[in-house]
């Protein structure tokens, strides 16, 4: 029933794509493809389950018991809806964007640094949240944010969120640091033992620090940096590079480094601290006074999803309190709703639902030329340049 409009739209997308290739000089390229992808032609009615659904997600988001028989929230979904789940995991947001281009996935769990790119690329469709009963329970401060919606049109359902915290070795730091300066201006005190997250998006961490320490730069949002602000952040990171022992992206590496003392200070995730605390390592985490970057992940539906009904069913299921609690708890992040906390005992540790805490987090957002902080007088540095700069920083 919804097949006809969907096919028609795909035709339109192709047309736009061809058009934009032909008109290379078209500066409003983003707007053009945005037109076809962003206007509200979300699903209006749920149909029959297709019997299968293909999901792309961070490792630990879609567990069917095959890695650990006790960790399984996919089987109940399959039993309930009859949608067989196949899943693929990715290691970085950038990989996710890439994989979505293959068109092989119906659903994707994307962090904020991927969502806007997916929307702009026409890879994901607007989501009709009315068809997702569990959407209502989701924390309000996670809804309709710049990383999961465009012009008030939602593009997905929030999943879990967390902050990129500052981890330190309690033996090296007798007193808990309160500022990010231990990894920036004072990084040389622990030269060779400082660690940082290995992704271009880490430049935003430097920007958060500069917001507090160099107000004259006038940074309003760490994801909306003009040329000068961006250069300041890059310079800060180049200095930091001299003290960095290693950059991390997989968390086994980070856990190992802090356990052995190869790293003593740097960014981390709460779940890493939980594992370390469990093994008795002398580490702790703080949310420094400058605030921090963080992530709020969104379940999205592919624009040409072959199994759109099962996709919606998954979105609803994974937002349900119990499934959401199980999944976010396994991954180690705060759940998306208060109800989910009834199924978790560690909500406190993740400051779930704590709006005050959540407000100090600058959630990952894709930096685009059109400044996300609303400035129109300058052009912001886009993610491609962030990536190039990140490679320069690492050297």
């Amino acid at each position: 029933m919804m097949r006809t409009p969907r096919t028609a739209r795909r035709g339109a997308t192709v047309g736009v794509a061809i058009g934009s290739i032909a008109l290379l000089t078209l500066t409003a390229c983003g707007t053009t493809s945005g037109d076809s992808a962003s206007t509200g032609d979300a699903l209006t009615e749920l149909g029959e389950a297709e019997g299968q659904v293909s999901i792309l997600a961070w490792p630990g988001y879609v567990e069917d018991g095959s890695n650990d028989p006790t960790v399984d929230w996919v089987t109940p979904f399959e039993d309930e809806t009859g949608c067989e789940v196949t899943s693929k995991t990715y290691g970085t947001s950038d990989e996710a964007v890439n994989l979505m281009k293959t068109g092989e996935y119906d659903v994707v769990a994307a962090s904020g640094d991927a969502t806007l790119r997916l929307i702009a690329g026409g890879d994901v469709a607007a989501v009709n949240t009315d068809l997702i009963p569990n959407y209502e329970g989701v924390f309000d401060f996670l809804k309709e944010k710049e990383w999961n919606s465009v012009d008030g049109q939602s593009y997905g359902v929030p999943h879990g969120y967390g902050a990129n915290l500052l981890m330190y070795n309690t033996e090296t730091f007798a007193e808990a640091p309160t500022s990010w300066d231990v990894v920036f201006d004072k990084a040389s005190e622990n030269a060779g033992k400082v660690t940082a997250y290995d992704s271009p998006i880490y430049i935003a961490d430097a920007a958060v620090y500069l917001m507090a320490h160099q107000p004259e730069l006038g940074i309003e949002n760490p994801y909306a940096l003009d040329e000068e602000q961006f250069q300041a952040a890059v310079d800060l990171l180049k200095v930091q590079r001299e003290s960095v022992g290693e950059y991390w992206s997989d968390y086994l590496k980070e856990i190992q480094a802090f356990e052995t003392g190869d790293s003593v200070v740097g960014t981390t995730w709460q779940v890493i601290q939980n594992v370390l605390a469990g093994s008795g390592a002398s580490t702790d985490v703080v949310l420094p006074e400058e605030g921090a970057t963080g992530w709020s992940d969104t379940w999205m539906v592919a624009s040409d999803a072959a199994n759109v009904n099962c996709a919606y069913m998954w979105l609803d299921y994974i937002a349900s309190p119990e499934a959401n609690a199980t999944a976010t708890s396994y991954f180690g992040e705060a759940p998306s709703s208060q109800e989910a906390c009834e199924y978790r005992e560690d909500c406190e540790a993740y400051h779930a639902g704590d709006e005050e805490y959540a407000s100090q987090i600058w959630y990952w957002t894709t930096p685009i030329a059109e400044c996300v902080d609303g400035r129109t007088d300058v052009e912001c540095v886009d993610y491609a340049q962030w990536t190039a700069a990140w490679q320069e920083i690492k050297g």
């Binding site: 095959s66 890695n67 650990d68 028989p69 196949t86 899943s87 086994l252 590496k253 093994s279 396994y330």
Partner: protein, 266 residues
């Protein structure tokens, strides 16, 4: 060769030392598989059988081993056929472009995996327009496995010459018969060695696999990589590695036996 006692001993000691260095990290893996630490930290804080138990219960791990074996067997089979054909062509014939063909066989292994990986990824997805699947992995693996078969077979062909085959032909045997009864038996151990290396190469390949595996295709190396990003799974991976090393003795030993017998017979 007449080596002095001293040089023999020195050589033996050096060889022994190198082997020790080779096995120390494997020892670490073995110890880690019994460690209570989930992050492979050293020294192990405690002893446990938990990971061994969980590894054998892990359907994902078993499936991944199955997938890897499947991929490796088919890729090896393709490589055996193509590698043998090409070694006959290059060894028995002199033709224009012979060196180019030789280079072409070597290239997939000589060029870094990441290049082969992105080239094939681009080829499958944008040029052929086929979705990535287990078959794209097999095609990719077979491509860089050809060279191991090729090298073993061509070396053998060079050594055996064509006398026996000519004799067979002179006695009236057809091309197929000669191949089946004369050429193939001479090649058997070379095929075995080449095939075994191809299998090992495919089984442990991660870089090209990352770029050519479709959704849901989890070979063992990919499973291991994914588990590095999951809580509390690292020691299971150690268990798998230990088991693989132990199990690998069987095919290697068999191959050795077969080729050894052959050498003795000659």
């Amino acid at each position: 060769m007449r080596l002095s006692r001293l040089s023999r001993t020195t050589l033996a000691v050096v060889a022994g030392l190198i082997l020790v260095i080779v096995y120390v990290p494997l020892g670490v893996v073995l110890v880690n598989s019994f460690s209570t630490s989930t992050s492979l930290s050293w020294p192990p804080p405690g002893f446990t059988f938990e990971w061994w138990q969980r590894a054998f219960q892990s359907a994902g791990a078993m499936e991944a081993v199955g997938t890897s074996v499947f991929v490796a067997i088919i890729a090896t089979a393709i490589a055996l056929v193509l590698g043998t054909l090409i070694s006959f062509a290059l060894q028995r014939f002199d033709f224009f472009g012979r060196h180019t063909v030789n280079l072409l066989v070597i290239l997939p292994i000589a060029l870094p995996g990441i290049i082969t990986g992105i080239a094939l990824n681009n080829f499958f997805r944008t040029i052929m327009g086929v979705p990535l699947s287990i078959w794209t992995v097999i095609i990719a693996h077979a491509t860089f496995c050809i060279v191991t078969v090729f090298n073993n077979v061509i070396a053998r062909l060079r050594r055996t010459g064509t006398k026996l085959e000519e004799a067979s032909a002179d006695l009236g045997a057809g091309v197929w018969t000669t191949f089946r009864l004369v050429t193939f038996p001479q090649l058997r151990s070379a095929l075995l060695a080449g095939g075994l290396l191809a299998f090992a190469l495919s089984f442990d390949e991660i870089i090209v696999t990352t770029f050519t595996a479709g959704s849901g295709v989890t070979t063992l190396p990919i499973f291991i990589l994914n588990n590095m990003f999951r809580p509390n799974q690292a020691p299971i991976v150690s268990v798998i590695a230990v088991v693989l090393v132990l199990v690998s003795i069987i095919p290697i030993w068999l191959a050795q036996r077969l080729s050894g017998d052959e050498q003795q017979r000659r």
